[in-house]
């Protein structure tokens, strides 16, 4: 058992290089969890390895290797389904809770669209906080979509951000007289974006879409709705509930 800093530090290089026996390695991991100074030393050793790597084996890759790697990654991405947590235990509970919350929050948001959107959202801040406690996520954020003119559209966005489990976004819109599809994109200021499934408008002019994934959504702060040709229909910032 690794109990002192001196003992742990003697083993840190091998821990980093992966040559420790399992029992000793577990002892180091346990010590590191509770010792900031040894974690700092491990970081310093890691920088030593990075320096060694630069000095000893930095060689320009040949032309064509990048294309090859990107092609293989593309194949890998097509073959591997989007990761979904294994059924069972905490993951299953989190999914069930997230699904229940999605329905509830979506209902609240839809009610807001039809009646007093802003006031309902504000009045339900307590509900969101309660849900948050149940789910264990970081925060709920809301957005209100509204545009006038020939493409009049209104709707709501509800985002649940969890840094440890699944995060999700629900978009509900109504655009009387609109048919066909529209895109819904969650965007961050740094240019990253997540495109949701297309909104498909029915005879009532209503449409909904959602996205669920293992992402930390802190950086994503607005949603845009656009026609398939890219014409912007509506956009909204999403702010804490």
């Amino acid at each position: 058992v690794t109990s002192t800093c001196d003992e742990a530090r003697a083993l840190l290089p091998e821990h980093l290089l992966g040559t420790l026996e399992e029992e000793a390695d577990e002892g180091v991991r346990r010590h590191l969890r509770g010792c900031a100074s040894c974690r700092a030393e491990m970081a310093a050793l890691g920088e030593g390895i990075a320096t060694f790597a630069r000095a000893a084996h930095d060689r320009p890759p040949p032309d064509g290797l990048k294309d090859r790697v990107m092609t293989v990654l593309g194949e890998e991405w097509r073959e591997q389904p989007v990761a979904i947590p294994a059924a069972g235990g905490r993951a299953r509970l989190a999914w069930a809770a997230a699904a229940a919350a999605a329905v509830l929050v979506a209902a609240l948001a839809w009610g807001g669209v039809q009646t007093r959107r802003a006031s309902v959202a504000a009045a339900d801040a307590g509900s969101y906080r309660n849900l948050l406690e149940v789910l264990g996520g970081e925060e709920f954020r809301l957005g209100e979509l509204s545009s006038e003119g020939p493409d009049r559209l209104e709707g709501s966005v509800v985002l649940y951000d969890s840094h440890v489990d699944q995060s999700w976004v629900v978009v509900l819109v109504r655009a009387p007289g609109m048919f066909g599809t529209a895109t819904a994109t969650l965007e961050a200021d740094d240019g990253r974006s997540i495109e949701m499934r297309p909104l498909e408008f029915g005879e009532t002019g209503s449409a909904a879409t959602w996205w669920v994934g293992p992402n930390d959504l802190r950086a994503y702060d607005h949603v845009e709705i656009a026609r398939p040709d890219g014409t912007l229909l509506a956009a909204t910032a999403i702010v804490p509930a």
Binding site: H57, D58, L65, E76
Partner: protein, 190 residues
């Protein structure tokens, strides 16, 4: 250039985990040369080195969600993934260990230097090489055996004919010295 912020590493890996092509491109630009060089040094031929780069990026993607910024820099993590794969490959092929000197010569088929933006990287590499020059021969030998050969401290001790404690000290001191020397050279050059 200072090391990148952990947050940017975390953001990059989150993007990569959700199959973002730009993130994959960034990772390739940042790490491919060192993974490829590692393959040349450890595996001894270009084809194996290229396979190592490919396998490393696939493995890094498959494990992207396990990357934890609190446990160290992304650079170290990716390099250790590559090294682990190279050692596995060596074990499978039961190849003889190759020394850095025997395989570290410039290869004729290396492409010409890239555009201006590689200058900063080259400068960093030069500093790293100068930092390497501050190690004693014994420290460097112990580190190469542990890093390239995947040897435990006990195996390094046996190969070098030194006590176990000395082998451990040489590897640890070498790594810490490299980091310190890089900082010193950075301060001098700034």
């Amino acid at each position: 250039m200072r090391s990148r912020e952990p947050e940017s590493d975390a953001a990059l890996m989150r993007a990569f985990s959700r199959r973002d092509v730009r993130a994959a491109d960034t990772l390739f630009e940042r790490f491919a040369s060192r993974i490829y060089g590692l393959g040349i040094v450890m595996l001894g031929n270009e084809a194996a080195a290229q396979d190592l780069v490919q396998d490393t990026f696939v493995k890094v993607w498959r494990n992207a969600e396990r990357y934890d910024t609190s446990r160290g820099r992304l650079e170290t993590w990716v390099l250790l993934v590559a090294r682990s794969l190279a050692i596995d490959s060596l074990r499978r092929r039961v190849l003889e260990a190759r020394s850095l000197e025997a395989t570290g010569r410039p290869h004729e088929s290396d492409p010409a230097p890239g555009p201006d933006e590689v200058a900063a990287t080259r400068d960093m590499t030069e500093r790293a090489r100068r930092a390497m020059g501050t190690l004693s021969g014994e420290q460097r030998a112990a580190l190469e055996l542990a890093y390239f050969g995947g040897k435990t401290s006990a195996e390094v001790a046996e190969l070098e004919g030194i006590p176990l404690g000395t082998a451990k000290t040489r590897i640890r001191t070498a790594l810490l010295r490299l980091r310190e020397a890089l900082e010193e050279h950075r301060d001098v050059d700034v």
